[in-house]
């Protein structure tokens, strides 16, 4: 993921707790239906489960916890987005829960605005920017930042 958001990029759009989010499509490995999950006792509620992705043990993160959203039970639309990010200089594969996955789309650089300082319920450092898409707002989360902060 690039730091600068002034350029347009390919993004996967998804729904989290009723809000529209966009994740850089380049770091997405695959999108899975719900698969069996294993609880990790003692782990932070945000990453308290493990999944088996093609023989690899991968932590499953629930971004909704970080955005103070309600942890609703999974529906038929719930998906796991498997992304690879760099944490402490090490490539790390993480599964992200999504209430619904929409499409891969281009988000124009011009339509992205800096995170407003006020009027936000969430920690501003978790958001890289807000994109506009017609009348909708698209939240572009800073996945690395969110996963680094416990």
């Amino acid at each position: 993921m690039t730091d600068s958001l002034s350029q347009s990029f390919e993004a996967l759009t998804l729904n989290l707790g009723g809000e529209l989010f966009a994740i850089d499509a380049n770091c997405v490995h695959e999108i899975l239906d719900l698969i069996p999950q294993t609880d990790v006792p003692g782990a932070h509620p945000f990453v308290d489960r493990l999944i088996n992705v093609r023989g690899k043990v991968v932590p499953l993160a629930d971004l909704r916890i970080k955005f103070d959203m309600e942890r609703t039970p999974p529906t038929i639309d719930t998906r796991i987005v498997v992304v690879e990010i760099t944490l402490d200089d090490e490539p790390t594969v993480v599964g992200l829960l999504a209430d619904k996955v929409y499409e891969v789309t281009t988000i124009g650089g011009a339509s992205i605005e800096k995170t407003p300082d006020i009027g936000m319920r969430w920690r501003p450092d978790f958001i890289r920017g807000i994109g506009k898409r017609g009348a909708d707002f698209i939240v572009i989360p800073d996945i690395v930042r969110i996963l680094s902060v416990h």
Binding site: G42, N52, P59, E90
Partner: protein
């Protein structure tokens, strides 16, 4: 990835192995100076380092090695007898070669010169027959008049493929003095048969120089073994050879008219190779046939793939279990057999005999015993016991610490030993053997043993234990692994700072191993490391707690018992079980893991242990044993205690592997908080 194709890197790796081999050979040679095979092995190692070093641009290392190789060559031919002084110098020289190869910038040139002088002093010692070249060196060195030399050389046909550039050799000769170079073209084939990559030319050089013969020989130092080289001194009054037509016949014959002839034929005619080189070639052939070099990551990848195959096969087996189709069942069984075989072979690939590790300690013990002025013999057994390669690498440091401790603290000086009625020579024994799914490595010395009183006093001083606390020997000895714990009264360069033993403990814990210490005053100490065969796969006991399934490493499991209803109903207070008269604290995993699922009626307790400490783990159900491929947990779970890794079960779901050390420590904490209550009641 780039390193893999970097020839210099390959050379460094190869030479590290060769130097290790050289060292062990030298140490054996010290004990058995008459062993021809050992001499040959040492010579071959030096020869290979010299040859490949020159090829990959490690010129300083190659040049230095050459001198050592010459000394060994003379030992091989019997002109020189190996002795302990020479071997000592050779060992130091080996270290210098390593420095030249690994950190050329830091290598001390003066040290190199000093070592060469020592080698020269040994090789020129009285009683050794001086070789012609040495003699001529001396003569040349005494007075260095300007002389004429006739140098004729023919490179091996494939010399250029191997990186030799004849032009550089000729330039170097020209640099020595006034040189006339003529190419001998009689062996050049007709154009249609000409292979431009092969060197068909020979050269005839007349050189007038003040440099001694040895300098001229040094020009050919790296190609000597494959080159027909003749160097003749031309008498100043008989320069006929210069104008003489090239001798058409091969091989080149030394000039009869030369006043004095120093002939250096490093390579006899093709038809009659010397036995040594034939032997060498045979050995090289044997090596290429029996082993290949594979990057360790590739083996790791293979292991991962095989691990997944085993998991997939287990799932297939589960699915097939319900089927009645005999054909599918037979295919599934075939796949099971194949994948099990593949798994065993893949695990076997990573296994290397532990002798390669033990061998390194001969040098350590030799050097340390000299430094400390103690006479110590090191013996070994079970060197062919096989262990995972990664494991062997990681055992190096802990074993060094333990052996150093034994030498420094454990073993007494010869006088003290004699006074105590022991043989003056101390003894350290290293052994390795298989025991079930573990390998046991034992380091035993016959020194003074651990001082229980001093350990206790120190532990009380550091408030690690309460004054007067009753501890078993094993518990007491475990204290020496505590960080900063040292009972040594004086610091030496080797040990006494209290670092070291806790490093041992941490490394062995990380390898999922165990440490046991037994010690008898005045009789010695025995430290036993118990290690799993491999890092990649463990045998585990699969248990269920609530809905979750967990794997307990089988090596730590002592027994499984039912939790007595009496103990079960006491939800608080004394969490102790009476196991055949011994009180064992237990932990309810349901509580540790905050399980809400209703408990099974009959709770089971799995008794686990490290060393002599035991802890019971209360689980809902014991599911059975399970061989499992270990997957490490991601960084996101670095803060999660109680688990050492994860694994994938037959049905494809993930199960966590319990961290035995962590749980035992937690259980002991439970025991300690309850202990005072028990004493009070």
């Amino acid at each position: 990835m780039t390193n893999r194709t970097d020839p210099a890197q390959i050379f460094r790796e190869e030479s590290a192995e060769l130097l290790a081999e050289l060292e062990s050979t030298l140490l054996l040679l010290e004990a058995r100076p008459d062993d021809r095979d050992l001499l040959d092995t040492a010579f071959r190692a030096l020869h290979t380092i010299k040859g490949s070093g020159a090829m990959f641009g490690f010129d300083a290392a190659a040049a230095f090695t050459h001198h050592l190789e010459s000394a060994f060559d003379r030992m091989r031919t019997g002109a020189l007898a190996p002795n302990s002084v020479l071997i000592g110098v050779a060992l130091a020289a080996k270290d210098h070669i390593r420095a030249l190869i690994e950190t050329p910038a830091l290598a001390d040139a003066a040290e190199g010169d000093r070592l060469l002088a020592l080698v020269a002093a040994q090789t020129d010692a009285p009683g050794a027959a001086p070789s012609p070249s040495v003699a001529s060196n001396l003569v040349q060195g005494a007075d260095s008049p300007v002389r004429a030399w006739r140098i004729r050389f023919r490179l091996a046909p494939d010399a250029m493929e191997r990186g030799t550039n004849p032009l550089l050799l000729l330039d170097e000769l020209r640099g020595l003095g006034d040189a006339t170079v003529r190419a001998v073209t009689d062996a050049v084939p007709p154009l249609e048969e000409l292979d431009p990559s092969r060197c068909a030319l020979a050269w005839d050089v007349t050189l007038t120089t003040a440099e001694p013969l040895s300098t001229i020989q040094d020009v050919f130092i790296f190609v000597m073994d494959d080159t027909d080289l003749t160097i003749d001194a031309v008498a100043p009054d008989a320069p006929a050879g210069v104008e003489a037509p090239p001798a058409p016949a091969q091989p080149i014959i030394p000039l009869a008219s030369a006043a004095r002839t120093d002939t250096v034929a490093t390579r006899p005619p093709q038809s009659a190779p010397v036995p040594a080189s034939g032997e060498r070639a045979a050995a090289a052939n044997a090596n290429t046939a029996s082993s290949i070099r594979v990057p360790a990551e590739r083996l790791d990848d293979l292991m991962d793939q095989v691990g997944e195959l085993v998991i997939a096969q287990a799932r297939l087996k589960q699915l097939i279990g319900a089927s009645t189709d005999l054909q599918i069942k037979s295919v599934a069984e075939e796949i099971e057999r194949l994948s099990n075989g593949l798994r065993d072979i893949t695990m076997g690939i990573r296994m290397v005999p532990i002798g390669s590790l033990f061998g390194r300690f001969r040098r350590l013990v030799r050097d340390l015993s000299q430094e400390l002025g103690k006479d110590v013999a090191l013996t070994m057994s079970g060197e062919d016991t096989e262990l995972d390669k990664t494991m062997i690498e990681r055992l190096n440091d802990p074993l060094i610490h333990i052996i150093r401790n034994s030498l420094d603290h454990g073993l007494e000086t010869a006088d003290q030993r004699s006074a105590g009625g022991k043989p003056p020579q101390g003894h350290i024994h290293l052994s390795a053997r298989h025991a079930g799914t573990q390998v046991l490595i034992t380091i035993r010395d016959d020194g003074r043993g651990l001082d229980r009183e001093r350990i206790r006093a120190k532990a009380e001083e550091q408030e690690l234990i309460q004054p007067g606390a009753k501890l078993s020997d094993a518990e007491l000895f475990q204290l020496i692994f505590h960080p900063g714990f040292s009972t040594a009264r004086t610091l030496t360069s080797l040990s006494g700072r209290g670092v070291g033993m806790d490093v041992v403990k941490r490394t062995i814990d990380a390898l999922r191993g165990t440490i046991d210490i037994a010690s008898t005053p005045n009789r010695g100490t025995e430290i036993t490391l118990g290690l799993p065969l491999t890092l990649a796969i463990i045998d585990g006991l699969l248990v269920r707690v609530g809905r979750g399934r967990y794997v307990i490493p089988l090596f730590a499991v002592e027994e499984c018992v039912e939790l007595p209803p009496m103990a079960d109903s006491r939800q608080t207070g004394r969490n102790f079980l009476n196991i055949r008269g011994a009180l064992v604290p237990f932990i309810r995993l349901r509580e540790s893991f905050a399980v809400t699922h209703p408990p099974d009626i009959y709770q089971k307790v799995v008794i686990i242990s490290t060393g002599e400490r035991r802890v019971g783990l209360v689980v809902d159900q014991v599911l059975g044993d399970h061989q499992t491929v270990i997957k490490s947990m991601s960084k996101l779970h670095a803060d999660v205690a109680n688990f050492s890794g994860a694994t994938i079960l037959g049905d494809g779901s993930v199960a966590l592997i319990l961290d035995i050390g962590q749980l035992v420590a937690a259980g002991q904490a439970v025991g300690q908080t309850v202990e005072p209550q028990r004493a009070a009641s």
